[in-house]
Subunit: 331 residues, 2 copies
């Protein structure tokens, strides 16, 4: 995808539905030159409101559909702006269930003006099956006690902190928001099952011995729907280090009241057993928690307990940053 | 798929390439009314050679492409017979990488004569994601130390033995040959990664409390390419019992010399940990080995050692049958 972006918010009124756009704007403000909203929209990313002509003059290359309405469909009211954007020379990127390229009007207009359509939920493939071959360079994978516990956030916080500390580091995206942020990546939960590990190998190719890939985790080994994705991702990543991500307010797998959140110890043991298949030296570098529901005292207690029992630094990327984990990488 | 079948062997000369056809003929001779070969073919399933007219008169409903040449392509020389079969009223089923329905000539002819094309590598879906909800009835899943260690063979041997012992039992297929044998199933390694567990749940729906599904396993938790498929399959199957399948001649994962075959104990521990997420009562009922490379003495020693260490019956479905395992189900 060509950057910078103009973030398309349509006529959205629900902040929950623009999480993709707000994630990109938060982590990569330098590539988000503006937002494009209709008069009906009430959401606001605090970016400059831009028309299409202004965006093109400002150097925008891609209109990013930063909305994910329920059902992931392309809303009819968006179409005129999308068609105009194509005509004015912008590519379009989206992460919806509906493909841009399956909309005949959008596809025809893109073809007519020689513009590209990026559906990041449709992996580019074809992929090879996993080879299990050890690759040069270093890899850190974020893993979780559950889905949606801040793995992408932790990964990007680690990348930022490592860059600031002089590391040679890249963020490798495995979900749609991450892919928009990185400008590339593989939406691993959408690849054909046989190719999960192989696609992850491709995502993080051999590199210099001092280089680190920070690979965005997906799902959880303890999730009854998605654990297969997570295991393939662990095997393909061959992580040297893992960071366990957890939401301190979560008592059971989100939406699955019969599935308790695993204890950190059991959880790390499971991830290590999985990781050791393709990297005998895999170990944990720390724990990242979302502690937004905890008081300062509760948080301190939590961190102390985690460090005492598991001997690992415990950070909240928002509250404390992740310097303690980066320090613990020991490189 | 409508049965019975006429098994199409084309002009094949390599026995390795007709494993699908020979598997179906071995396990379901009653639905394989004949074989269809060109004069160039040297392979022979021992079935009656039949022309298309004779097959139709005999009651055949589906021409089964029982060949898997390297690359999984539809060979040009097969096309005339396929088109004639459609014209004479047969459906066509195949498990190739190339889809029958992507061949314009085949697709047009099927449409013209109102016949169906089954590409069993293309899962029918759409599927739901796994729910983790416990289903009524009993389930046995075959799992492996590696790929291609006899999981389908063991599953069908167990189904046969259980039927003979009066069990109410169904074989549930997860690979192409299995699907032809059962007449239905889900090729789990071809579903989109997010739906592995969900597709497996669909494959084995709630049933009577005395009913058993014997679910064909795929891959191995210890395979660097395919473990994600296996884990999703374990979670979606919710097995009450598992049977570990192993090829006694295998020292490392086939094609992966750096990945040793796991010890039975570690391997069963890994499968149990995985299975307990969705079924707390999961346990092993036995071990099935392919002992074709072992002498009688070596085999006896192997069986004794396995039983002494793990307390489980160890069978070779070909050599001994699987009665000891069925007895150990304890129902």
């Amino acid at each position: 995808m060509q950057q910078p972006y103009l973030l398309f918010l349509g006529d959205e009124t629900d902040l929950q539905n623009i999480k993709t756009a707000s994630g990109v704007a938060y982590w990569r403000p330098e590539i988000c030159l503006g937002q494009f909203r209709s008069e009906k929209a009430t959401v606001d990313l605090g970016l400059k409101d831009m028309g299409l002509d202004e965006a093109v003059s400002a150097g925008v290359k891609t209109l990013l559909i930063g909305i994910a309405p329920d059902g992931g469909k392309i809303t009819e009211s968006w179409i005129p702006a999308i068609l105009q954007a194509l005509e004015k020379g912008l590519d379009i990127a989206a992460g919806l269930h509906d493909r841009l390229s399956d909309n005949t009007e959008i596809a025809a207009t893109a073809k007519k003006f020689g513009r590209k359509l990026f559906d990041v939920r449709q992996p580019e493939g074809p992929f090879l099956v996993g080879s299990g071959k050890k690759r040069s360079g270093n890899r850190l994978l974020t893993v979780g006690t559950d889905c949606s516990v801040g793995k992408m956030f932790a990964s990007l916080a680690l990348e930022k902190e490592m860059k600031a500390s002089g590391y040679n580091v890249d963020f490798r995206a495995t979900g749609q928001t991450g892919i928009f942020i990185a400008g590339s990546g593989v939406s691993v939960d959408t690849v054909v099952a046989d190719f999960i590990a192989g696609a992850t190998e491709t995502l993080s190719p051999p590199n210099n011995t001092d280089h680190w890939d920070i690979i965005e985790g997906q799902g959880s080994l303890y999730h009854p729907s998605y654990a297969g994705v997570t295991l393939g991702l662990v095997h393909g990543s061959q992580p040297d280090k893992m960071v366990l991500c957890h939401d301190a307010s979560r008592t059971h797998i989100d939406g699955f009241p019969d599935f308790p959140i695993p204890e950190f110890g059991a959880c790390m043991k499971g991830y290590l057993a999985a990781a050791h298949l393709t990297n005998k030296n895999a170990s944990f570098a720390g724990v990242c928690i979302n502690s937004s529901g905890l008081s300062e005292e509760e948080f301190e207690h939590y961190v102390q307990k985690t460090e005492d029992i598991y001997g690992l630094p415990c950070c909240d990327p928002v509250r404390t940053g992740v310097a303690a984990i980066v320090k613990n990488l020991g490189c």
